[in-house]
């Protein structure tokens, strides 16, 4: 598939990076602007928290789609966007949590801990957030070098994290309308299926070489 150029000159790549950076900032900008302008609906706080959360999930899935997209299109430079996308996903998770912490729990840590202990969907969300922290910390070149092959193994965590995030979304739906969580679950399943199938083929190939 030659939808995307296989190579990108450095200046074009820099341009793409700036564009992606600004695009990733856009939802947060619109959410905050909407809050200030009073255009987030009748319950703006809930709307803000939910939108931050949903964008975190979207960016997580987009990050997960980078490698399959690179493999399918042969556009090797796509991988250069992956760290930024992943860190933006983490940023939106932090915004989601901060808004919840401040406005839902009045910035009282005790209330958050009680919520985590009592409510499975909060626990699942908290687990996803905590698991993302080591991935964000080790996203630098230095850590990649230091961890070597273990870096890849560590960053496989992003799959269970995405599963937790989708579950978190599923569990807070009151009734009936599961269409959006189901959509994200579907996308995640496709991405996960692709990786598993490719992984299996890779192992088979390696086994054949060794035989």
């Amino acid at each position: 598939m030659a939808v995307l150029p296989a190579q990108l000159p450095p200046r074009a790549l820099a341009g793409v990076k700036v564009a992606v950076f600004l695009l990733c900032l856009l939802p947060a900008g619109l959410i905050v602007a909407g809050l200030l302008a009073g255009s987030l609906g009748i319950n703006p706080i809930e709307s803000m928290i939910r939108q931050f959360g949903e964008w975190a999930l979207r960016l997580l899935l987009i990050t997960l789609a980078v490698t399959p997209l690179r493999q399918l299109t042969g556009a090797a430079w796509l991988v250069r966007l992956r760290r930024m996308l992943g860190l933006f996903a983490f940023t939106y998770v932090l915004l989601h949590f901060t808004a919840y912490f401040v406005f839902e729990q009045s910035a009282r840590l005790g209330l958050v801990l009680e919520d985590v202990a009592k409510r499975p969907y909060i626990l699942v969300g908290a687990a996803a957030l905590l698991l993302l922290i080591p991935l964000a910390v080790t996203s630098t070149n230095g850590w990649m070098r230091r961890l070597g092959r273990r870096w890849k193994r560590l960053h496989w965590l992003v799959y269970p994290i995405a599963v937790l995030a989708v579950f978190h979304f599923f569990m807070l739906i009151k009734a009936e309308d599961y269409s959006r969580p189901l959509l994200y679950a579907g996308i995640l399943m496709v991405l996960l299926g692709y990786r598993l199938q490719r992984g299996a083929r890779g192992r088979m190939r390696r086994q054949r070489v060794h035989a």
């Binding site: 809050l35 200030l36 302008a37 009073g38 255009s39 987030l40 609906g41 009748i42 319950n43 703006p44 706080i45 809930e46 406005f103 839902e104 009045s106 919520d115 009592k118 409510r119 499975p120 969907y121 569990m171 807070l172 009151k174 009734a175 009936e176 309308d177 599961y178 269409s179 189901l182």
Partner: protein, 326 residues
Amino acid sequence: MHVRIPRPWAIRESEVTEERIYRARRHFMKTSAVAALGAGLFPGLVAARAEQQLDALRPLEKSRFSTDEDPNTYEEITSYNNFYEYGTGKEDPARLAPKYLKPEPWSVEITGEAEVTGSFALEDLLKPHALEERIYRLRCVEAWSMVIPWVGIPLADVIKRFKPTSRAKYVKLTTLLDPEQMPKQDSGGIFGFLSTIDWPYTEGLRMDEAMNELSLLAVGLYGKEMPAQNGAPIRLVVPWKYGFKSVKSIVSIHFQETQPNTTWNDLAPNEYGFYANVNPEVDHPRWSQARERRIGELFKRDTLMFNGYGEQVASLYRGMDLSKHY
């Protein structure tokens, strides 16, 4: 010859907000919003407060059951609704209900364990009663709340007319079933297999709850006829219970000896009980009921036992384990 007979329950002209005040209010909202934006505040919230201050200009007869808290704005009350017959989104009812619901003509069936039964035109149902305004807190099971100036009649006064028999231990109230007027009753949606609500929407009260002085049959709010999205033309309001008990667009009132099945209780019995009294100490399995977001406020506030109506209703539940009868 066309003779216009004023419906006895129609809101009198004198009761509706004067155009001049209405416009002044709008103007004030706009200017204060702009001013607040400059100050870097939250104009949406500031505007809401400003409108309420002007509402105090309106002469309204207040019931002794009315709260003196600031009511939410008409816009808030009429554009943030749960009315699943029009979709699960909070904005769906405001968008669709006025288009589909035909609240006129309307009649209500009175059936079951009562001496007087039959089908009554809404006008006839309301005729003997005087409308009053009741400003009640409304607490949704989803942990948000509003203050709403309802217009209606005490449910007890209506019930007495039908002379329920001694076997009438419960009253069951049912919403209209008509997919032509309530489109989501028909469609399973894209994920129809998950559509589990068994229409029509049904709610119920114990007889003594129904006869409580707080229970209201509401036909309007803010001195205007009930907007479609709020359950036109007639709905229940039981302010000490979570909002879902206050069934909308009622077509049937049925007296019976056994506890009726109710929609949310059927759907998720571990999450929504028959009683559904507002209770900060009994959490919903998935979220806390200890606090709530009053629409228009930034931070959450504490939820009150029986939504602050304990004085009127606590005696109804004496001796009951409310964590079991949630």
